[in-house]
Amino acid sequence: MTGADAFLNDVPSDQELRALVVRAQRAFQWRAQADALTGTASVEGVTVTVNGGGSLTALRLEEEACRDGGRALADRIIAALGQAQETVSAQLLASARETFGEQAPELDTIGASLEERRAVTRAARGGEDEDQPHGR
């Protein structure tokens, strides 16, 4: 079989191509909405804002957050980060349902991505630091 043969058995119909274009347009539309989303959360004197991708974009600390050491402060920042990400994740899923429909396969992809994000932040919270006094 030549390389050309590999493509000749699976040529999409015009209707399938139109459906793919519509899905691609919806994906671009959703991505633009997702990029504009933000989420904010506060935990014990720490306020964090994240963007649609879950990146920390703004931080505010109150004195009360700093009173019991570096590790406790770092844990509060990470906890607030996780909560802000949950806020924005809920918005992302709601907008994805609205854009793609309740049963769309895109929801599984987005859900898996959000779960990975959750795992990354959970891992950032876990573990003890042996390198005192920097530790968290």
């Binding site: 991708g53 990146s55 920042i77 990470i78 980060l81 990354v120 950032a124």
Partner: protein
């Protein structure tokens, strides 16, 4: 002199060989893309501030993977440690952007569109962080600063 008609079978074989070569090139690029993606996904950027008292690590997608704050840094007060965390995060973001760019150049060469595409993606995922200012107060209720 009239030209000799080309053998249709030979023409067909030539086209098939050309397509095979293009498919092979596409396959090679796909394999390189997979290796490149794995390499970029494994990258981390690290940043420090306050003499190493604050340390931050981030991924190319902007997610924070580690944050360490020393007791001494925490004791400097909210304003100072807030500034140090943002400074360390900014440095970590710059490092991961640079590392992702280097990995792309190594995989594709300086002028490939993939390099620009990934640079833009990582830049969008690592926006410069800012202090969160209380809208009710011009300076967030605290002393002014350069942030």
């Amino acid at each position: 002199m009239p030209s000799v008609p080309e053998d249709p079978e030979a023409v067909k074989a030539a086209y098939a060989a050309e397509v095979d070569e293009q498919v092979e090139q596409a396959r090679d690029r796909a394999e390189r893309a997979t290796a490149w993606r794995r390499e970029v996904e494994a990258l981390l950027g690290h940043g420090t501030a306050d003499g190493g008292g604050v340390r931050v690590s981030v991924r190319p997608d902007g997610l924070l993977t580690d944050l360490r704050i020393s007791d001494a840094s925490a004791a400097r007060g909210a304003r100072a440690v807030e500034r140090a965390v943002l400074e360390a995060l900014t440095a970590a973001q710059a490092q991961v952007r640079s590392a992702a760019h280097a990995a792309s150049v190594q995989a594709w060469g300086e002028r490939d569109n993939a390099v620009n595409a990934l640079d833009a993606e990582v830049r969008a995922s690592t926006p410069p962080p800012q202090p969160l200012v209380d809208p009710g107060s011009p300076d967030g209720g605290r002393e002014g600063g350069t942030w």
